[in-house]
Amino acid sequence: MKKKLLTFMLTLGLWVVFAGRMNIQVMMFGTIICSILSHLLANSVFRFVHLNGGPKQIVIKITYMFFVFSAFLYDVFLSAVKVSRQAFAWNPSFSPRIVKLKTSDENSSDIGIFAHFLTCTQGALALDFDPLHKNYVIHWIDVDSDAEAETRKALIRKQEHLVAKIFHSEG
């Protein structure tokens, strides 16, 4: 029921934004349509998301999310600057390598979301995911030494933990 409600809220929000207006007609249609949609889709969308916290926890989470999101945006720009510098460099040099990174996440939502973090930030690229061994296959664009790779990996693990914290409830 919670999932349905959440889906309903989200879709209704989308609907209102799309409609670009708030009036009785839009809300009426929106209610009908979004309830149908949430009825149909809720279970498949939020299959692995557990929503067992009170409203307070949700508020905290959302604040948390906002911070992470900002940091994420910042990271995106940072890595973009790195890459674009390479693009305009007179003599661009790369030291690419492909590594496997084991993840501790059990939740597929987290795995999916973390792939975004991997790809958008860090100069990394999520190439593949091996569901059997829970290995990300990652492509790094500028890693010179093994030591640097290890520090990077550590960084990634840290972030992974962070992501898991937001989306995966501890209960």
Binding site: A80, S84, T119
Partner: protein
């Protein structure tokens, strides 16, 4: 008294547009200049993303508060979700095609 806010807003918009154009151009240059697929994917994943975000942010600021901005935010979120996926999908295609670490990546140019 000079209305300070619009000018500030104008400046912010300019800055966003400028960074956006820069990142998009660097995407294009990266696309041309980068030596192999994966590095090009980096250009596509990061510079393009940043460029897109910048331009859309610029538009949002230009627009101000309203439904249109919300729409643009949704578009931004959408790009944020789909762009990495798209890149991943392409990478995945190539990765599963070759099944071996890319030999080109050993070379330094």
């Amino acid at each position: 008294m000079i209305d300070f806010l619009p000018i500030l807003r104008q400046i912010v918009v300019y800055v966003f547009f400028l960074t956006g154009s820069y990142f998009l151009l660097s995407t294009a240059v990266g696309m041309i200049r980068f030596p192999d697929l994966y590095t090009r994917l980096h250009a596509s994943a990061k510079c393009l993303m940043a460029g897109g975000i910048s331009i859309l942010m610029g538009c949002i600021v230009l627009e101000g508060i309203g439904f249109v901005s919300l729409k643009l935010i949704i578009l931004l979120l959408f790009l944020l979700i789909t762009n990495p996926i798209a890149n991943h999908v392409i990478a995945c295609l190539d990765h599963s095609n070759t099944m071996t670490p890319n030999p080109i990546s050993k070379n330094r140019s």
